[in-house]
């Protein structure tokens, strides 16, 4: 659940971008960073390797503004996608309020998408979280690839029951980035006003 600081009148929500390596999670954050006016965002922190692969996480705070007198902020994180960084991924999921699952449209990444979703479910369980409890969006990225897989095929492996709201995206062109972020943010905020 989001952190509510009554004294400071602040609500903070944690949104995590999850998905296989190189699917475009950091690119999503970079686009948000470049397009949101400076006074509404904080510094972007990237803990990356020398070849710019995410090592631990990327972090970007966003100010939504004041809602009913509460300064409302979103803290956006990415996780490292590479299989061997699972310990880091697990840590970043701690206290998550919403998830954007970034799937890769490349044909040779279909299996990686499926494994990443399975890994997400397992890591959530280790935090005692049922995947159905967390607001989650499916963003299918790299739709501009000439050999992009049909979207139904990708969905069939990561969301076979078709439970997730889905967005097509080309994150390096900014397409579908704000749409997915807005949808998951709205779901997180809606939960604050819904009885359990």
């Amino acid at each position: 659940m989001s952190t509510i600081n009554f004294a400071a009148r602040e609500i903070n929500c944690k949104i995590v971008y999850y998905g296989p390596g190189m699917s475009g999670k950091t690119t999503n954050l970079k686009h948000v960073f470049t397009k949101i006016p400076g006074h509404l965002r904080g510094e972007m922190v990237s803990l990356a390797t020398e070849d710019e692969r995410t090592l631990f996480f990327d972090f970007l705070p966003l100010d939504l503004g004041s809602v009913q007198g509460f300064k409302t902020r979103f803290h956006l994180y990415t996780v490292p996608g590479q299989v061997f960084y699972n310990a880091s991924r697990k840590l970043i999921l701690r206290g998550v309020d919403g998830i954007v699952f970034v799937a890769d449209s490349a044909p040779n990444r279909l299996r990686a998408n499926a494994e990443s979703m399975r890994n997400l479910r397992e890591n959530l369980i280790e935090h005692g979280i049922d995947v159905r409890e967390v607001p989650m969006i499916l963003q299918v990225n790299k739709r501009d690839l000439p050999d992009a897989l049909p979207i139904e095929m990708i969905r069939a492996v990561v969301d076979p029951k078709q439970e997730l709201m889905m967005f097509e995206a080309v994150a390096d062109q900014g397409k579908g980035v704000f749409e997915a972020l807005k949808a998951v943010s709205k779901m997180v905020l809606d939960r604050l006003s819904q009885p359990k």
């Binding site: 659940m1 989001s2 952190t3 509510i4 600081n5 009554f6 004294a7 400071a8 903070n12 944690k14 949101i36 509404l40 904080g42 510094e43 922190v45 631990f56 996480f57 972090f59 705070p61 966003l62 939504l64 503004g65 809602v67 009913q68 409302t72 902020r73 803290h75 310990a87 880091s88 697990k90 840590l91 970043i92 701690r94 206290g95 998550v96 309020d97 935090h127 005692g128 979280i129 409890e133 967390v134 704000f178 749409e179 972020l181 807005k182 943010s185 709205k186 905020l189 809606d190 604050l192 006003s193 819904q194 009885p195 359990k196």
Partner: protein, 161 residues
């Protein structure tokens, strides 16, 4: 279930602020901040002589992530936790201690401040702050009304189009 949050308000908040103020005075550190394990700032104080404050959100996020990583290491090495972290640079030191299971207290200071003094006073304050956080943790969850969601939705439209 999703990890519970800390909602700090009223007398508890004022008392935490008071403890942080006292820590600043007693130790001579530049900044002290209480952050939750998710990396959100619960409360912070800065000394009058402190330079322009760093991006507190980023500092809090990195403190919490660092503590989480250190906790994972502790677990691998058969410890329940490493409760204390010290990062000493040429000019600046960051000292972090766990405030119970849900929060972390971080102090940032220059090399004119003896680490020993910081540790002694921090441990004294921590016992009291941890007790306060335990009380707050038991407070009932807060709900907002439907108007909250619609107001927030309008702001999201403004921010993200």
């Amino acid at each position: 279930m999703i990890e519970p949050s800390l909602a700090l308000y009223g007398e508890a908040f004022e008392r935490v602020e008071q403890h942080l103020d006292e820590l600043l005075t007693a130790t001579g550190v530049r900044y002290c901040l209480l952050v939750d394990r998710k990396g959100f700032v619960i409360s912070h104080k800065e000394a009058l002589w402190a330079p322009r404050p760093p991006a507190l959100d980023s500092v809090a996020t990195l403190i919490a992530s660092n503590a989480a990583a250190t906790g994972a290491l502790a677990s691998m090495l058969g410890e329940r936790a490493f409760n204390e972290q010290i990062h000493q640079g040429e000019n600046v030191t960051l000292y972090v201690e766990a405030a119970g299971d849900n929060a972390l207290l971080g102090l940032i200071f220059d090399n004119s401040v003896p680490l020993g003094r910081v540790k002694v006073y921090t441990k004294k304050s921590l016992a009291q702050i941890t007790d306060l956080l335990k009380v707050v943790q038991d407070a009932p969850a807060v709900k907002f009304d439907d108007e909250f969601a619609s107001s927030a939705g309008a702001l999201l439209d403004d921010l993200l189009g």
